[in-house]
Symmetry: D2
Subunit: 357 residues, 4 copies
């Protein structure tokens, strides 16, 4: 008889909105075993721990000190990501962190430095890179099936805005919500040279007082010459609207989950089908796949993707786009945060920017 | 701290084609823990056990005697189902069995009797009843959203025929492949009154020598007056083709998974998307959901569905349809196997025929 | 300067439901000029004539005697088709007649004899043969792109039943409504060997008193071995439901107009699009194309399709299917009406049965 | 008997690429009768006249002098539109002109002045305003079904670039190809306040020498606060790609013709359907409807839409967008060409800007 399949013992750090979504995935998944749940709210920690049969704590130090914690799954609010990453890296834990890596480049650089100095495996949760449709798109592009890339187009719209208190600390619409789409732009097409953006507070005019937007559109000029558009919003009346297109010389890829479930209803209104209403309905396979890939990579010693360094470039793009949105300027991405990024040692040769699994 | 979530310790009985598919699901699923794998082929048993971190055996008796086996998951060849069910029931194990319940009514009746006499929880694996689209269709129908039901239409086509040796022991096209669609007919529309069928060996003419078919079409007249058609085949060039429609006074439901993954490719050939190529691609959520429902039902003592008695009526419909196909006769379903079924005690009141979850 | 493009001067015979639909097409079409409209109802004749700038009459003889009538477009009630065809043929007019050719084989044979004896050009209005999707399907099948044909599947459902007085004289559901689908079966797959059918009066139970059906399903066994199903109905809640599938060794063709107009509305109910609600919304190109083909064929002397002889075989299939529906018998098509058809001279060599344009 | 339906006797001015497309429509259409065809190429004029049974000439003056010419249909190269409009207006002819109205504002103003001074009926051929899907979208928006408008998104891509000699005189990508989409922006959402654009010569790098683009993306800020994106291109590998979306508070409209014909082919590559390959395949109903509306409007004295004045505002938007593309500047549309437009008298009250039929 062979030994039972090994599970990676993990601590969940953060048990709020995103943490609970991760917990829902972890509950149904083998390969990862959540042994501890930490949250500054004892109630959140206790509840999620109860669902997962794990212990809980309100102290990060206590959790990082546990011997049955090999890895951390970080779902704390974005402003704390860099700190938690740094402390987990120093404690020698493998790290799976929700995006964004950080909310500013200084913190992002610090997080990358900590991870690379400690030599711990680390992965940033851009789950779309693990969605079957995006995986296949990436493979087709890499195999040259589109020929030269000429265009990119993304829509990212949440069904309804998160609470105001979340929004004003989220780092800006194009860093937070748009961060996924900008990461995909790099993943699928390549680095962005220039970005322009305009936006407004169309859904919740109150946001304007805080200098925040709930709707934005942007133009992307890629280093390889491709041209792109991006639309981001925080409210639809019709569910979660995530679409991505890549146009090349030989064809166009269109990614969209437009049916949930596989049921069309024909009645007096015509033909009707429902769409995903929430990111957990759009990306269930991806959330499972990214955590499984993380656990398998850590257990087997294989490289993880996307790395914090890769995610740092996506953060830089998000911040550059947000700066364009805030100022109305055309922002050259390579010049944005140049000094901060210069503090990093050269990238290890084997990790190409934007490289997918 | 709460205790870790409980897993149901199971033995997999049968590690061939279908068993390996189940193993793939079980490997990624929490809530069920496979402790033993049994197959008459030691090689199959060892391999699947290795994947699942379980012990293995070629002896059913040995496995049924284990204290860390609370339930069995039966994926043996169809002709053995009734026997294994009977032995597992006598051993007091909870039972999850691949369909069909049996290949003839005498065996099916015996299996139901054994399960009901032993009072063990039991569920037959008609996984489509757990697919999100079928679940929603059933709810809409039960809620009266279609009004009076008037029509049913099903297509069930495998991408390519199973091996000849499987086919000639599978019990007939309308019992084996068609069994799923006929179960859905009962699940969604109700009991069938009459069935007509014609068929042929169009894909593999050699099958005709064995009196078998690889293609068949049937007409269904339901007790509630609805009229239906059924198409079954064992070869397409374009993947797994499973479609179900229910027509009512107020509308029509159409169930089809037509995209895998959520990617459309536009190129010189037009717009192209791939379809499911295999049942594991069409029904991954359903395979996970039915086993999860089984485990949760067993652990919590809640009723399971579909029961062996319910599955026996689907078997009777399959056998009646197969008889119609073999003879060219119009078969009245209620008269088919009346004597065999009369041997059963009256159905427990709380389990309506065709009742879904 | 070239002479103005020639128009074919036609008389419309019949200005009721179908005649008015044809008039709507003729009004927007060049190539055909309606000079006379005849209907037994002076009011119908006057109204349609007014729309088309034509003269009108209640006398068929008067119209057939006009020098500026080279052709007739027959849209009278089905029971009169054969008579009108016979008289128009004797008058030497080119004939475009609404289907069915006749309602019984004796009349159909008489109509074919009259046309062939007079040597006038004649075309029966199976407009689907001129729909771009069916034209392309036929071409692909003839070019062997599906390989050996194995299956056929058709749905034909009207949004709502015609008036009762129409239904009881229409010749039966499978002759009238089903006639289009059975003609397509011959057009796309080939001649039918055997047919089984069941039906009911589900929409309007009163129809049962007249021995009529509003819902039917049928099984078709083709001479080439392919197997088919057919669903016909007279009421949906969701518009006009016309679908056709042909399954072959190498692929499957699926024909359906599922969107009208090219607009999808996303709102709180999900994604919604409207469908054709009427045959004029489903087949506008086909109605225009078949009349244009008729006019061009007559003016240029090229052969027309489908011919009355071809349509007679579709009528025979419809009557055979209706007989199967009425009696519950399995009907061998080649034996049905054998004596009547034997009265015809051999088919002219150049017109293959089921030959499309 | 009523008099025959009246036809509007027209002269086609211009028988090149677009003129021949119009001729194809006119040939099948009643309500309009082409009596003369004029082109500077006698060969073009003769060929199209022959197809239409019309007389031909290479002299505009000769054609404008004919008594059997009540209206002109202008399909000459864009640089000549304003001149031809002016001369036709002075000759008292009703005018249907291909877009753009002109290639610069001075010419456009002159054309509007000429038409309004002469008091002749005039319509500019933005045919999409007559496509059934756009008509319905406009009606839904006007009826408030989307609530407040928040977003606009358009894609306009030709399958392959027109000849180089056409491109370098076409007035710029966003005036020519983009002109349709920018007119739709005004038609569906309202006037644009600001525009930004970037572009390149990705398909044909040679174009860069002429300062021309074949690919561009733009951001639109509307006066009502809505935000939009636009993508324009001159080459796809997959056909004609025209998509328009309007996002509102209560829903989203998506317009796309994605199937031609209504046939899906399932084979070893998955599910495949063809798309429109040319504008005549995307907009056949619209080309027929706009000319029919023109003829009916002229014959009945009803107002035409869009008027030259309305088209002038679309031209101004196109030129502003082109200026943004050429310079990289953010262009305020209301300031663009302010002096030229000031030369026009105030708009007649009854014609709202962007008003559809």
């Amino acid at each position: 008889m062979m030994p039972p399949q090994q599970d990676l013992p993990c601590a969940m750090i953060g048990a709020g909105r995103m943490g609970q979504a991760h917990a829902g995935v972890l509950r149904t998944l083998s390969g990862v075993r959540v042994t501890w749940v930490m949250d500054v709210s004892e109630e959140n920690a206790r509840r999620v721990a109860g669902q997962l049969g794990a212990q809980y704590s309100t102290s990060l130090d206590e959790v990082l000190a546990q011997p049955d914690v090999s890895a951390v799954i970080i779902s704390t609010p974005a402003p704390t990501h860099a700190d938690v990453i740094e402390r987990a890296a120093k404690a020698g834990k493998a790290i799976f962190t929700e995006k964004p890596l950080a909310q500013n480049l200084a913190d992002g650089v610090r997080a990358v430095q900590a991870v690379e100095a400690a030599g711990v495996p680390a992965q940033v949760a851009f789950q779309r890179r693990y969605d079957p449709a995006y995986v296949q798109a990436k493979q087709m592009i890499d195999a040259g099936e589109l020929g030269r890339l000429e265009g990119f187009r993304a829509v990212g719209r949440d069904p309804e805005p998160p609470p105001m208190e979340y929004l004003v600390t989220a780092g800006g619409l194009l860093v937070d919500m748009g961060g996924h789409d900008l990461d995909l732009a790099r993943f699928l097409v390549g680095e962005v040279e220039e970005v322009r953006a305009i936006g407004g507070a169309l859904v919740n005019p109150e946001l304007a007082q805080y200098g925040e937007h709930d709707t934005a559109v942007a133009l992307l000029k890629f280093e390889n010459g491709a041209l792109g558009t991006l639309e981001v919003g925080l409210r639809t009346s019709y569910g979660y609207d995530i679409r991505t297109e890549v146009l090349g010389e030989k064809g166009r890829l269109h990614i969209e989950r437009d049916r949930r479930p596989d049921l069309t209803v024909y009645d007096a209104r015509g033909a009707n089908h429902d769409r995903p209403r929430h990111f957990t309905e759009r990306f269930p396979e991806a959330y499972a796949a990214e955590i499984t890939a993380f656990a398998q990579g850590v257990l087997s010693g294989l490289p993880l993707t996307p790395t914090p360094r890769d995610a740092l470039l996506s953060l830089r793009l998000g911040l550059a786009a947000q700066h364009a949105l805030n100022t109305g300027e055309t922002v050259r991405v390579a010049d944005f945060g140049r000094e901060e990024l210069a503090k990093l040692p050269p990238a290890p040769a084997e990790i190409p920017a934007g490289g997918g699994r």
